[in-house]
C-alpha cells in the first residue's frame, strides 16, 4: 500500500487529503502542519474575524471527527525540516525529531508575507497577516488603536484598511506604486478603489516613499515618508505581497523559481514522487497556453489540490479551471473571474462612481477576465462563459439594459 505524506495543513493540504479519499485511495494519509491548528480558512482573518464576527472554531475547514472518520492523520504543531528521497522510500524529519516514512509526497506549504526591508520594521506593533496567530495579535491591539497605517495597497491591506475605517480609526494606506492592487487589476478598477476608500474616510497615498518607521520605547509610533512627514501609527499593518514557501523543494533539488515550486498541469514537480499545489507553486495557465502563473487564491488551492490528489491516486487529469477570486472591502464586493494578464483592451460596464460596475478584459478580441464590484450577475455570466470557452462581444458589453448572460457567443 502507498503512504502519502502531505506537508502543510492548509487549504490545499486539506483538500489533497480529502480528494485522495474521494478518489478511492486507501493508503495511509498523514497531513503535517506547523501551525497549532487543524486546517482552517484564511480569508475571514482580514474580514469578519477582525470585527468579532467569526471565532476560531468557525474558521475550521472540517471538524476533527471528519478526519478520524476518513482515516486522515492530522498532525498540527509540527514542522517538517528535512526530506530525503534518495532511498527506496522517502524519509521526512520533523522539528520534534520524529521520522516519517512515505512513498509519495505532496508539498502544500503555502506562502509567507514578504517582510518590510525598512529601518524600524522590527518595532512592536508592526504586523503581518497570514495566520490565526497574526490575526489574534492584530485583534489584541485593535480596540486600543486610533491610528492604523497600512503599508501596501493590495487585497489584504485594503481589506484591513476597510475594516479599521469601519471601526472608526484614522486609516492611511501607503502604496509605493502609482495605483492600488496594480498586479491584479486594471487602472480603472485601481482608481475606483482609491476613490472608494477615500470616500469612506481613508487616506490613500500613492507613490509613497517610506524612509523609516519611528518608535518610542520599542513600539512603533509612526511612519516617516521622504521629505520628513511622519504619519502617526499605533498599528502598522504590512501587506506587500507573499513569497512562496519552496524551502523543502529547494532542499530536494526540485525546480523552483523565486521559491515557487514548478509543477506541470498534473501538479507534478520535477520529481514524479512529489506533487505540489496552492500558493507555493508556479503552474501552467489553467486555461491552457504557454504562460506560467502563480495564483494566490482559495479557488486555486482547492482545484489544483484536486488535480494533485488524482495524480497521486493514479488518475491522469490535467488541471483546467476558470480562476476566480473575491475580496470584500467594507460593503464593496469584488469578484474576479479569469486571468487578465496580457489583456489588450478593457470595457467598463456601468459607472464606477455608482459603486456597481464591471471591467471586462479582452485579448485579441476575446474575453479573458472580469472584475465586478457589486455586480454579481456580470461576474456569474462571465465565469460561466469562460468555463465553456465562450466570449461576449466587447461592443455590446457596455449596454446595461442587456444582461451579459444573454450576450454570450461561441
Amino acid at each position: 500500500m502507498t503512504d502519502v505524506l502531505i506537508v502543510g495543513a492548509g487549504q490545499a493540504g486539506m483538500q489533497i487529503a480529502v480528494s485522495l479519499r474521494d478518489n478511492g485511495f486507501e493508503g495511509r494519509i498523514e497531513l503535517v502542519g506547523e501551525e497549532p491548528h487543524g486546517p482552517y480558512q484564511r480569508p475571514p482573518l482580514s474580514k469578519a474575524f477582525l470585527h468579532g464576527a467569526a471565532d476560531i472554531e468557525s474558521l475550521e475547514l472540517r471538524s476533527p471527527s471528519f478526519y478520524v472518520d476518513n482515516k486522515i492523520v492530522v498532525v498540527p504543531d509540527e514542522k517538517v525540516l528535512k526530506v530525503d528521497l534518495s532511498g527506496e522510500r522517502g524519509l521526512a524529519t520533523t522539528d520534534t525529531g520524529r521520522e516519517i516514512h512515505f512513498d509519495k509526497m505532496a508539498l502544500a506549504t503555502g506562502s509567507t508575507p514578504r517582510r518590510l526591508p525598512t529601518e524600524g520594521a522590527e518595532l512592536d506593533g508592526v504586523l503581518y497577516l497570514r495566520g490565526i496567530a497574526d490575526a489574534v495579535e492584530l485583534k489584541k491591539r485593535w480596540d486600543a488603536a486610533a491610528n492604523v497605517v497600512v503599508i501596501g495597497g493590495g487585497f489584504i491591506g485594503l481589506e484591513v484598511a476597510a475594516g479599521a475605517r469601519m471601526d472608526g480609526k484614522q486609516v492611511t494606506v501607503l502604496e509605493a506604486m502609482d495605483r492600488l492592487i496594480a498586479r491584479a487589476v486594471s487602472p480603472e478598477t485601481s482608481e475606483f478603489y482609491r476613490a472608494a476608500h477615500e470616500r469612506r474616510g481613508t487616506s490613500v497615498r500613492l507613490n509613497a516613499k517610506i524612509t523609516r518607521l519611528v518608535g518610542e520605547g520599542g513600539a512603533v509610533t509612526g511612519v516617516e515618508l521622504e521629505g520628513g512627514e511622519v504619519i502617526p501609527a499605533d498599528i502598522v499593518m504590512v501587506g506587500i505581497g507573499v513569497i512562496a514557501r519552496g524551502e523543502l523543494a529547494d532542499q530536494l533539488g526540485l525546480e523552483t523559481v523565486n521559491g515557487a515550486i514548478v509543477v506541470n498541469e498534473f501538479a507534478e514537480t520535477s520529481d514524479p514522487r512529489v506533487v505540489a499545489a496552492g500558493d507555493a507553486v508556479l503552474l501552467p495557465h489553467p486555461l491552457g497556453g504557454d504562460a506560467q502563473v502563480r495564483l494566490e487564491s482559495v479557488q486555486n488551492a482547492v482545484d489544483q489540490a484536486k488535480t494533485a490528489a488524482k495524480t497521486l491516486a493514479g488518475v491522469r487529469e490535467p488541471y483546467r479551471a476558470v480562476p476566480w477570486f473575491w475580496s470584500d472591502q467594507a460593503d464593496l464586493k469584488l469578484q474576479i473571474a479569469g486571468l487578465s494578464t496580457g489583456y489588450d483592451q478593457t470595457v467598463v460596464r456601468g459607472t464606477p462612481d455608482d459603486e456597481s460596475f464591471s471591467v471586462l478584459y479582452y485579448r485579441a478580441g476575446r474575453l479573458i477576465a472580469i472584475d465586478s464590484v457589486n455586480a454579481v450577475s456580470d461576474y456569474m455570466a462571465v465565469r460561466k462563459a469562460l468555463g465553456s470557452g465562450s466570449t461576449i462581444p466587447a461592443e455590446q458589453a457596455t449596454n446595461l439594459e442587456t444582461p451579459l448572460k444573454t450576450l454570450v457567443v461561441e
Partner: protein, 107 residues
C-alpha cells in the same frame, strides 16, 4: 443543538446537530456531507452551496438577500422557488428540524 437534515439528489439523507450560529453550509462541510462544495467558505462568492429549502421551512428561513439573489441566478443548477445559498442560512433553535435538498449541480 438544532438539527438539520440534508437530502442528496439520490435521496440519501443525513441529519446533523448544528452549532448555534453556524450556517447550514458549514454544518454540512465540516462533517463531510457530499454535494455542498462551498468553495468560497461562506463569503457568498461562489454559489456552490446551493440548496432547495423544504416548503415547510421556506417561510421561516426567508428570502435571499439581493446579492445572494443574483448569485442564485447564475448557479449551476436552475433555481427553484425555495432556492437558497446554504452559507447564508444561520442555524438557531427556531430552525430545529430544518430539511434542505442539495442541488444536483454545484460547479
Amino acid at each position: 443543538m438544532p438539527k438539520v437534515t440534508y437530502i442528496q439528489p439520490d435521496g440519501v439523507e443525513t441529519t446533523l446537530d448544528a452549532r448555534d450560529g453556524d450556517s447550514v453550509m458549514e454544518t454540512a462541510v465540516k462533517n463531510g456531507v457530499r454535494g455542498i462544495v462551498a468553495e468560497c467558505g461562506g463569503a457568498c462568492a461562489c454559489a456552490t452551496c446551493h440548496v432547495f429549502v423544504d416548503d415547510a421551512f421556506a417561510a421561516k428561513v426567508g428570502e435571499p438577500g439581493p446579492l445572494e439573489d443574483d448569485m442564485l441566478d447564475g448557479a449551476a443548477s436552475d433555481r427553484q422557488a425555495t432556492s437558497r445559498l446554504s452559507c447564508q442560512i444561520k442555524m438557531n433553535d427556531d430552525l430545529d428540524g430544518l430539511i434542505v435538498r442539495i442541488a444536483p449541480e454545484q460547479v
